[in-house]
């Protein structure tokens, strides 16, 4: 049984179409009722999260690759965790990187979990299933309001 009053939106930030397909498939295998939104680069993710006008609900969970075009995953993570409202959204880095400096930097910035994508298809599916069971079945996610027009990266938007 999902542990939420209403299913939260899940934001997947990933540019690799193959990884998107596997991740979506593994998430949906659990017959989750959560809406999945996909951003294919860091800039698109930041635009979704820091929308200038109020729009549909913010995600309650973010899966974030680090190797992204336009704006990298570390920069996206930093922007989220420095924002007063967004920082409570759990961010799971799901990346091919296993570099210790990426792990340390991510936890220092406040990542909720760092996970290295397994190479094999079955292992990848299993890890995403574990993510799904942990965050959707047993974790309680924060309730998010509509998106806000707060400054991105701590900088004031130009008027």
């Amino acid at each position: 049984m999902p542990n939420q009053l209403r299913p939260v939106q899940i934001l997947l930030v990933e540019d690799n179409p193959h990884d998107i397909e596997i991740t979506v498939r593994a998430l949906k295998k659990g017959q989750i009722k959560n809406e999945l939104v996909i951003a294919r680069d860091g800039e698109e993710a930041l635009d979704l999260l820091f929308a200038p006008e109020p729009r549909s609900a913010l995600p309650g969970l973010i899966l974030l690759d680090l190797n992204l075009p336009k704006v990298g995953g570390i920069e996206v993570l930093e922007a989220i965790k420095k924002d007063k409202e967004l920082k409570k959204i759990p961010v799971i880095v799901l990346t091919t990187s296993s570099r210790e400096e990426d792990v340390v930097r991510s936890y220092d910035l406040g990542v909720n979990t760092f996970i290295t994508k397994p190479v094999g298809f079955d292992d990848f599916m299993r890890v995403v299933a574990t993510i799904r069971e942990y965050w959707i079945l047993i974790a309680t996610l924060p309730r998010m309001a509509q998106s806000h027009s707060g400054p991105r990266n701590g900088k004031e938007q130009a008027s």
């Binding site: 542990n3 920082k87 409570k88 959204i89 759990p90 296993s98 570099r99 210790e100 400096e101 792990v103 340390v104 936890y107 220092d108 406040g110 909720n112 979990t113 760092f114 996970i115 290295t116 890890v127 574990t130 993510i131 069971e133 942990y134 965050w135 079945l137 047993i138 974790a139 309680t140 996610l141 924060p142 309730r143």
Partner: protein, 150 residues
């Protein structure tokens, strides 16, 4: 590149001895390689973490924290951990009986990795502990302590 994961060392911060014993037992049943430490209140937890910091064999790399502690409140323990550059990289799983959304919000805002409500039934409790262990021991990558510098 990380070739092998560091072994999991869990610090359980829990004043209810039945719960802490149950968690420790369930962890040991599932995995004999996971090390478990227990602190019965917030002051003890912070003392354990302070004395273990910098010792490669001593520091927990995962904290399971109840909010309803005697003495120093669990929320203050969480804030103290996240404010300490030697400790802030350690994931903290809040595992508590509280069902208040303000506690959920405060926990995540204060840097908790996860907020998980303790199931009231033992079967649910056991299943939840098993999932916590599977997630952190099998899926998650934790920073190697010797590479974390304040």
């Amino acid at each position: 590149m990380i070739d092998t994961k560091p072994p999991l060392h869990v610090l359980i911060v829990e004043n209810n001895s039945s719960d802490s014993e149950a968690i420790a037992k369930l962890v040991h049943q599932q995995s004999g390689s996971v090390r478990v430490s227990v602190a019965r209140d917030g002051d003890e937890a912070l003392a354990v973490l302070a004395s273990a910091a910098g010792r490669p064999d001593g520091q927990p790399n995962l904290i399971v924290l109840d909010l309803g502690l005697v003495g120093l409140d669990g929320r203050d323990v969480l804030r103290a951990i996240k404010a300490d550059p030697r400790l802030r990289h350690i994931p903290v799983v809040v595992f508590t009986g509280s069902n208040r959304m303000t506690d959920v919000r405060i926990a995540y805002e204060s840097g908790a990795s996860t907020f998980i409500r303790k199931p009231a039934d033992f079967e649910g409790f056991a299943r939840t502990v098993a999932l916590i262990l599977e997630y952190w021991a099998e899926a998650a990558v934790l920073p190697e302590e010797e590479t974390v510098s304040p």
